[in-house]
Symmetry: C2
């Protein structure tokens, strides 16, 4: 059974756990510091497909197939897939899951999708009727640029606060059986926080207040402190947003997470050598980082108690053109090892 | 606790139930046969807002506020909102839920969204950690036309198999407490079925095989027959898709649902008097029909055992332009009265 700790945190008594995970990324991500942790690095941005959108689906399929294979399961062993992406109508996910025959619950949470998928899947697994669950999310730099910003051929200048959409996908297999590590004892579904920021080239700033809200609620409800965590991992605020998050949490709640905070968008690229300005972003960023480096480290006993907080900016090009500010949201899952 | 009946149906022992429901629709929907069941009919397609997208958010807010008010609850009494819409990046929902402060899990299931929201919410409610849950979905004819098809000003001709996107929103308040009626004892999350149909002007045909798959699985797993149901309610296959569904189910599985099948897209408009070709569609169609006429009838004891199967076409304009066929999906919830 699941029950509430405080108002927002959901404690899962059956502690659903990870059977396997996998990540597939593009060339630039493969040239970054996490290279060795990825299951597959594509050097062709089309991944052998004819369009960027199909390439994104290909990335997802690669991560999904690898994770399912590692788990020693077949598609028919799964009770549900929960996933999403940034493409209009989430076609990255629909077309990737299409041939598996797995029941699909499509999610939309922008870059918070992987965290939302893990959180909801963990609650479903805890409830008794879902044994094997597939969590997946993806993004692709080229499909995102032409959908959200300008055609690549235009060669638009990027603001220093802007993040670089990761070409990548991450997939994880969760099970109701809590005997594996890592496992998920606590989750939190976030609420929208919108402080009126309208700059779509600075989404880290738009999402930081939502991350602060979710982290403060999680610490409050679980009666824990930042030093109780091996890492408080946001994804993806980038450098600009992470700095804001640390400032906001300290100023508003007196919580100092600077010693333990890291961000998937800061980890996936080498800031000095790779020209990505404020770091990585996109549903595929935190999905690929968590489903490789982070879960690997926890499984190896090198890291523990990771509070993964996925952040999403719930805008659209249309809402921005219509003068709307950017609603931010953040969902969290606690990843535990031993 | 929840457990599986067979492979696909999830039985909810705690039988989550409806506290309240509400629907807000546009002028054309208000002129249809269900007029008296709607909580609010807007005669202005902008609902007093400046754009069609903001009008859609306004519709959602109207339905949400009315449902929450009827429930005698405040926003802070809710543990989660689960909802979605057809707009790119689901902005109808994000901007409608933004000011409520309710934790949000954004869903994407095209026109199956309301059924998916009810199904997932019912499972969460059954699990113990969610007391009051808000389910919502919407669509707007004008925002959908310009996003998916052609600008309204273009005056494009419509195919006879095409459906008319409903301007409407439906919202329901579910609770873990199973003492109200209607309640939800069983749900099913569907899988994608794609038989290769590529005609985006005939989405009923693309979704019918998915509806057939979900209905056949539900009847098989619960060991029931069509005559055990007061209604098998699809939403939204329209006239063309409903006919196909009945044919496909009979031919492939020997199941004859013709005596009990109805469709939200067939019910919301008057086929003789309103020029809507194959009937209504859009996330808001089944949301508005279920959250008014259907739940009203069940609560009044005039209808019982309604298997509501929401159907979605998981395409995008981009996937169609790239030559892809249309993946269909259908999620189901059993709505019981007495």
């Amino acid at each position: 059974m699941a029950y509430r700790k405080g108002k927002s945190v959901i404690h899962l008594e059956n502690a659903p756990s990870f059977v396997s995970w996998a990540a597939a990324v593009g060339k630039k991500e493969g040239e970054g510091p996490l290279n060795a942790a990825f299951d597959k690095v594509f050097t062709d941005e089309f991944c052998g497909e004819k369009t960027f959108e199909k390439a994104e689906t290909h990335l997802q399929k690669t991560a999904v197939n690898r994770a399912v294979e590692k788990a020693g399961l077949r598609f028919e062993d799964f009770d549900i897939a929960m996933g999403g992406d940034l493409l209009n109508q989430c076609i990255g996910t629909s077309f990737s899951v299409r041939e598996t025959g797995i029941a699909l619950a499509g999610l939309y949470g922008a870059c918070s999708t992987m965290a939302m998928s893990l959180a909801l899947s963990a609650v479903l697994a805890d409830g008794g009727a879902f044994k094997n669950l597939l969590c997946v999310a993806s993004s692709h730099f080229c499909s995102a640029e032409r959908q959200y910003r300008t055609p690549l051929e235009y060669g638009g200048q990027r603001s220093q606060a802007a993040q670089w959409t990761v070409t990548g996908a991450g997939a994880a297999v969760l099970t109701a059986n809590g005997e594996n590590t890592p496992y998920i004892p606590d989750v939190i579904i976030g609420r929208i926080v919108d402080l009126g920021i309208k700059d779509a080239a600075n989404m880290g700033a738009a999402m930081a207040p939502a991350a602060a809200d979710t982290i403060a609620a999680f610490l409050r409800d679980t009666d824990t402190k930042p030093e109780d965590y091996g890492m408080i991992l946001t994804g993806d605020l980038g450098f600009t947003g992470s700095e804001l998050l640390r400032e906001v949490l300290k100023a508003d709640s007196g919580i100092d997470i600077s010693a333990v905070q890291n961000d998937c968008g800061m980890m996936i690229f080498d800031r000095e050598k790779q020209d990505v300005h404020s770091g990585g972003s996109g549903c595929g960023c935190s999905a690929a980082v968590v489903c490789s480096h982070i879960l690997n480290k926890i499984a190896a006993g090198e890291l523990d108690n990771v509070l993964f907080v996925g952040t999403g900016a719930l805008l659209s090009p249309t809402s921005s053109l219509q003068g709307e500010s950017i609603p931010g949201i953040a969902h969290g899952v606690l990843l535990k090892g031993a």
